[in-house]
Amino acid sequence: MTELAEAAKLSTAPVPPQRQPGQGLRRNLRQAWRQLTSMRTALLLLTLLALAAIPGTLLPQRGLNPVAVDTYLAAHPQLGPFLDKLSLFDVFAAPWFAAVYLLLLVSVVGCLVPRIRLHTRALRRRPPVAPRNLTRLATSTEWSADAPPAAVVDAARLLLRSARWRTDIRTEDDGAVSIAAEKGYLRETGNLVFHIALVGLLAGIALGGLFGYKGTVLVVQGQGFANVRSSYDIFQPSRLYSDSQLAPFSFMLQTFSASYQPNGEPRAFDAVVDYRATPDATPALRHIRVNHPLSAAGANVYLVGHGYALHIQVRDAAGRLVYDKDTPFLPDDAMFASHGVVKVPDGLPKQLGFTGFFYPTFGVTPFGPQSTYPGLRDPELDLAAWQGDLGLDSGAPQSVYQLPVASLRHLANRQLSPGQTWRLANGTTVKFAGVDQWATFQVAHDPGKRLVLVAAVLIVAGLLVSLRVRRRRFWVRAVPADGATDARRSVVHAAGLTRSDPDGFSQEFDSLVRRMKD
């Protein structure tokens, strides 16, 4: 490399691949590695990753909305299965998507390792020698000074040191003295920190994906939840999860309250729970709201849904209580018209079941009964009674929200308000005793979260530094004015070099030169 080119090299960026020495396979491999870690490849992979992500936003995704995927498959019997084969409904878990980001990861690491080495070397090295002919540089100037070369350069050094430049003085053969100064190493440091943090971010994501867990549970007011796997309605463990990761916390849902705007849009939700970190701990009162999860022994508990649970009491003809439970009904629309099923398998001569529709604020529209407001303004319950074998004793798994009505005998229908009792023909009575609320909670544990957060902070910090700081070099050479070594006067040449933001640098250069002349 020529002297000038060396002086102008302000970055540790890899040089474009050149023909490599060596033979055959080894040379090809080295060539391929150079190619993979080149900036051009990184650019290509960045673009590819962006392109690969696009179908994930245009087609329904299983991870986000499995129902929409099924609907799409049903609507497109030809195209659907073909797209499915290409993993286009699981884009972000697809092998080809992983291939792109893993290649990008390898490319980044392969580019980083030599650059870290080069940068640590550059941090210890003296600034590069002043090029022989400073006036050939774009930003340069010369003037004459009333001092010998050594004094001129010493003054320049003081000035540069006070502005925190790294300096190096060399005495040259012909009696000239030169100073080389460099500043802005932080630019490359920031750049490297940013890229290392990106790798750390991916590591954190992988950690969470391998060891975390997630589960959802529905809890009715007044009931509790203990963090064991069997308590969950849905449980999604990660690949390397083990039950020992479940922290032994528990909570009891004291109250759940929701408030709405006049048009029925939600205003606020609040779940008040009695929380115990361990079974022996004294319970503490906690609020779980949207945006305010409960932090529970390394996991977080989120409020993700709510609805109404109906308190139903069933008595036999003799007045004996055979059923007395809060039954959760599932909401069907934004106004919380809900549906649910009550199963009374024991205590009656024949098993009894009810299908029901619940309207928190009952209203009749041309389309039939509907709920007109999500709050409990005028609650009504439509019940249909069914008699026969509920199928609970067969041992086959059955949803608590479904009744096998096809094999049952329909008895009668009735609409009930809270407190009302309905007497069936056989003397059995059904009482709509009241309305409670339920809430669904999601418990999530992600051991990689902290690493991801630290990496994210470093990403922003590294980015800010690498885009704000300029790497620049500055040289001053003082030559004896009359050619003698003990000259009183000198001719001073100064030149500077930067890669980014030349406008800003020329101002800095001018101000440095002005202060040196003074």
Binding site: G56, N291, D501
Partner: protein, 312 residues
């Protein structure tokens, strides 16, 4: 608390004033741009200065409109697409005014004002939403952090997009005028080429050199990109609190990421031989296109967790 309707009305009126002032300013800049090259440059200069005064007046009305909206609804004034659009254009105008205070960029005026007026017009008509409270999901202090960062980055990206388009035009013109003289086919053809060149060339002379435009675009993106990165990360932190995961490939998240990748590619391209200049500029415009998809298409067409548009 119900919305204060008289304050909300005042905010709407102020926005009309804002758009009018910006539109007039745009005409002023355009006049300066169009007539500045010929002899009557004094008059053109007056038009340019008047346009700056109108821009500042519009900016004051804009700030007042946004502030009154905030007081009317007792919350931050960026809770739906209408309010967000208004904030993004406010940032774009602010970035332009800040640049104007530092370097001679009045030539940008018409080109910044045109999309701003379009944006605000769209916001005030199609996207307009009545003043109202936030849905619970938005009720978090992260709306201040995440959304402000997204607004700031979007406004700055808008300015950089304008500068980049100008850069590409100027660069093409520079290449053409530096290239070999057009081969004359006949007297008519030569005259047509010449006429076309001088007319466009006059406007092009008014623009700074392509290298200056390129650096200006870079400076704005170098500011906006870390802010956008921060916006995405702040969004992830908020998502972790609201939706129990920091990243879920929701369409909004994915398009924000795609936008990020496109601008990251732009920054890498600037450091790659053979990609500097035009190709890098095209990448940054693609980035801006992704940002627009992220904003308009994701909010209105694709269904996701960010469906707070309040449109329709």
């Amino acid at each position: 608390m119900p919305a204060n309707t008289s304050l909300a009305h005042l905010s709407d009126v102020l926005l009309v004033w804002t758009v009018s002032a910006y539109a007039l300013a745009m005409l002023g800049y355009a006049a300066e741009f169009a007539f500045g090259r010929s002899g009557g440059s004094a008059r053109a200069g007056r038009a340019g200065r008047a346009a700056v005064v109108l821009t500042v007046a519009g900016w004051v009305a804009h700030v007042a409109s946004v502030t009154t909206r905030g007081f009317a609804v007792h919350r931050v004034p960026w809770g739906n697409m209408y309010e967000f659009s208004s904030m993004v254009s406010l940032v774009a105008v602010t970035v332009f005014l800040v640049l104007l205070a530092r370097q001679p960029v009045r030539f940008l005026g018409a080109f910044v004002m045109a999309p701003v007026v379009l944006y605000l017009g769209l916001a005030g008509t199609v996207l307009y939403a009545k003043a109202g409270p936030l849905v619970p999901a938005l009720n978090s202090y992260w709306i201040k952090i995440h959304v402000v960062a997204a607004i700031t980055a979007s406004g700055a990206f808008m300015v950089s997009g304008v500068v980049t388009v100008l850069y590409l035009l100027k660069d093409r013109w520079e290449r053409r005028s530096a290239g070999p003289a057009p081969v004359s086919i006949g007297p008519g053809a030569a005259a047509a080429v010449e006429f076309g060149d001088t007319r466009v060339g006059g406007l092009m002379h008014w623009l700074p050199a392509s290298a200056v435009l390129d650096r200006l675009a870079y400076r704005v993106i170098a500011f906006a990109f870390p802010v956008w990165t921060f916006a995405v990360i702040a969004g992830a932190i908020w998502a972790e609190q609201a939706w129990s995961r920091y990243w879920g490939w929701d369409p909004k998240e994915t398009w924000s990421f795609i936008t990020w990748l496109a601008y990251a590619a732009y920054l890498h391209a600037r450091a790659t031989a053979g990609w500097r200049g035009r190709r890098a500029a095209v990448l940054s415009l693609i980035g801006f296109g992704c940002l627009m998809v992220d904003y308009y298409v994701v909010n209105t067409v694709l269904v996701g967790l960010h469906s707070y548009a309040g449109v329709g």
